[in-house]
């Protein structure tokens, strides 16, 4: 049962490729593998912590004001991660820019608080957060690696081939849509085969 809470977010209910939520940061920061990794870590921190706190306070949270309370919890953790990144990884913070504060409005996080953590015990909620974060990270990093290799000829900043041969469109916005579309199609095809 606990394992299932963790497992679900990775492939079966992958937030990006299956539920198709939280796509805005995915499109914006997946232009390089390093940005994708940094964003994944920040989202994982916020998602796991907010699921934990929301599950912890669910019994004392009045139904009418649960959404404002979720937002307070989420924005607190986002601001904490913003400070920590500014203090310890300033280069990454610089690269991610406005998308760190925008984690507040990432619908994966509010979605999990409302759909899962508000109705489930603490441990299950933490595992759900961890699984969803891992699913988000897998999708984001795959997209980041594919776009960086094809669009800039490098991976995690390490050059693989001459940049002149790279297709710049892949690190521009259209490249994000193309890559996500192909990955979704691939995942659907695999699922059809399994069934």
């Amino acid at each position: 049962m606990l394992w299932k809470n963790f497992n679900q977010g990775i492939i079966k209910e992958n937030p990006v490729l299956r539920l198709m939520i939280g796509l805005c940061p995915v499109l914006a920061v997946s232009n390089s593998a390093m940005n994708a990794l940094g964003m994944s870590v920040a989202v994982a921190f916020v998602l796991i912590c907010s699921n934990w706190v929301v599950a912890l306070i669910r019994k004392i949270t009045p139904d009418e004001i649960r959404i404002p309370i979720f937002i307070i919890v989420i924005s607190t953790f986002v601001t904490i991660s913003d400070y920590i990144m500014q203090a310890f990884t300033p280069d990454l913070h610089h690269a991610l820019g406005v998308f760190v504060p925008l984690i507040v409005v990432n619908c994966i996080i509010l979605g999990r608080a409302e759909a899962f953590a508000y109705r489930n015990p603490v441990l299950n909620s933490i595992l759900d957060g961890a699984g969803m974060s891992l699913g988000f990270a897998l999708a984001l990093i795959s997209i980041g690696v594919i776009r960086e290799v094809l669009g800039a000829g490098s991976v995690f900043g390490i050059p693989l081939f001459n940049q002149a041969a790279a297709a710049t469109i892949m690190i521009l916005p259209p490249g994000a849509f193309i890559t996500i579309g192909i990955l979704m199609a691939f995942l659907n095809k695999m699922e059809n085969k399994v069934q």
């Binding site: 309370i69 607190t76 904490i80 400070y83 500014q86 669009g151 800039a152 710049t168």
Partner: protein, 145 residues
């Protein structure tokens, strides 16, 4: 009425706890953040000024926002260093203005020199606006100096 007050009170308590937590984290990270900003500023100044002179900060308008740059000018009014601090140009095109190959072309220019893209400076392919913005930035910096 009583209910509204109760809800407002609960929400207030959550806000106070949140503010407390944030104040605590800020207290610990703020000195480090300030230090990082100072370090990055100092290292930029050092980078654009290999010899004594003056570092001028300018922010010409690029293709999609300001390009914050620092230009090092020596005492005779010659560009001796240039660095892009912050930019939001198109990745793969305009963002290439940060490359040293492009920026090094400005070294040795003075206020008397013509600084026009495609004539005096090789522009970045597909990024005329960004290239022109950097040229304007250098001109502004020399004028300010």
């Amino acid at each position: 009425m009583g209910k509204i007050i109760r809800l407002a009170l609960i929400l207030t308590i959550f806000c106070v706890i949140s503010a407390g937590a944030l104040a605590f984290v800020y207290l610990f990270t703020e000195p480090k953040i300030k230090l990082n900003q100072k370090l990055s500023y100092d290292s930029s100044v050092k980078e654009v000024l290999p010899q004594p002179g003056k570092a001028v900060s300018v922010s010409p308008r690029g293709y999609s926002g300001p390009i914050n740059m620092m230009v090092g000018v020596d005492r005779s009014g010659t560009v001796i260093g240039i660095k892009i601090l912050n930019q939001t140009e198109t990745p793969g095109l305009g963002a290439n203005v940060v490359k040293t190959k492009f920026l090094n072309q400005f070294i040795g220019k003075t206020a008397k020199d013509q600084i026009e893209p495609k004539k005096d400076i090789d522009a970045i392919t597909g990024a005329t606006i960004s290239s022109r913005a950097v040229c304007k930035g250098v001109k502004d910096a020399l004028e300010k100096f």
